[in-house]
Symmetry: C2
Subunit: 244 residues, 2 copies
Amino acid sequence: MKRRLLLVSNSTLYGGGYLDHCQTQIQDFFGKGVKRVLFVPYALHDRDAYTKTARSKFKTLGYEVDGVHEAADPVEAVRKAEAIFIGRGNTFRLLKNLYDNKLVTEIRKRVFDDGVPYMGSSAGTNVSTVSINTTNDMPIVYPPTFAAIGLVPFNINPHYLDTDPNSRHMGETREQRITQYHEEPNTPIVLGLREGSMLLVEGKKVTLLGTTKARLFTPGKPAVEYDPGNDLSFLLDTERASVL
Amino acid sequence: MKRRLLLVSNSTLYGGGYLDHCQTQIQDFFGKGVKRVLFVPYALHDRDAYTKTARSKFKTLGYEVDGVHEAADPVEAVRKAEAIFIGRGNTFRLLKNLYDNKLVTEIRKRVFDDGVPYMGSSAGTNVSTVSINTTNDMPIVYPPTFAAIGLVPFNINPHYLDTDPNSRHMGETREQRITQYHEEPNTPIVLGLREGSMLLVEGKKVTLLGTTKARLFTPGKPAVEYDPGNDLSFLLDTERASVL
């Protein structure tokens, strides 16, 4: 089992710059073996500007960035990638573009078969899970399915937000939304990743990293809090043996 | 053109009870001619409990409520309805259930052909528009399309929320989300209905009611604010002559 994932809740933390809060973890994750990272900018409209932002940041960390949209053949670019990073933006747009460009199966293959390290942040974290059913984004386009790349057998809610007892806004709280999801049949567990936290997956081992707690929602059970540093490998328990 | 719609942003306003903030408008809208309102509780999981809540409230306003899920044949129930109310909950679940029960076309027919008054609140307002692309809800189920009942030729963002300059949360603001929607081709204008506001549509006349302003988003143009009482009939300008 070669799978290696770094799944970050948010790309920017209040008061800091783009990916500042996870730069140590990024360098630990890609290490010195990786020279070039294939960046998937599909979640934002202006892919060139977005790639420029990612390229500048990764340069300071010691990595070159190639935009998958710059390649003549995106599938071929994934086949040759040393490492993959999918960033923030609109999750519906991202997933639709991944399917339109036939990258979903290809990325899954590279991660599971070849151990290509995959980093996601925000929308890029959502699409790495079972489905995008627990995204916070507005459904601005209609993807062919909500099923996602499926690199882990659970869902994540990035940018997880605690209920604000002082709010006068009457929309559903984040916890209410996830509870509504779990009213539906056969839904996976959902990890609420607060801004500042991230998940490191190495084979069958899962560790919570970062500076904030995470909140786990299991259908029919009370939510449970976990601290940075906690071993969350049990999240993989429902994984079918066939993918291992 | 017989169309009559009351499209409410939110079902409950901070500090008040269910539908309290719009009860005068509900009575003005349904009037004394309507005796029974057909309620569509598809957006929440517990349809019986939800119908009970709506029934109690409407009773105090002088109307009986029938839950469409209580009918042996929901399509037949719509065919016989004097008035229709679709309420809050999860918009994806609501739209999927409307399609599963073949009610989308039937409701459109009754509103356009027979002048059956339609009231929506929150999710029920979303599904009355062109599409649910501008809902705030979590995509907990996958509907067969995001296209909705299409009683008006524009979209609404209910529970519209202004950007909070003091927020430390780094998720997209509501305005950013709607702007991302308008980056996509051929998207309709979007009316941001703040909590406390509602739209009255009578034939070709549209009026903003309630206590809060509304914010209009048009692709490629700056957003514009409108006050309660304003005539917004121009929102129907893009309507195809065929539906009139």
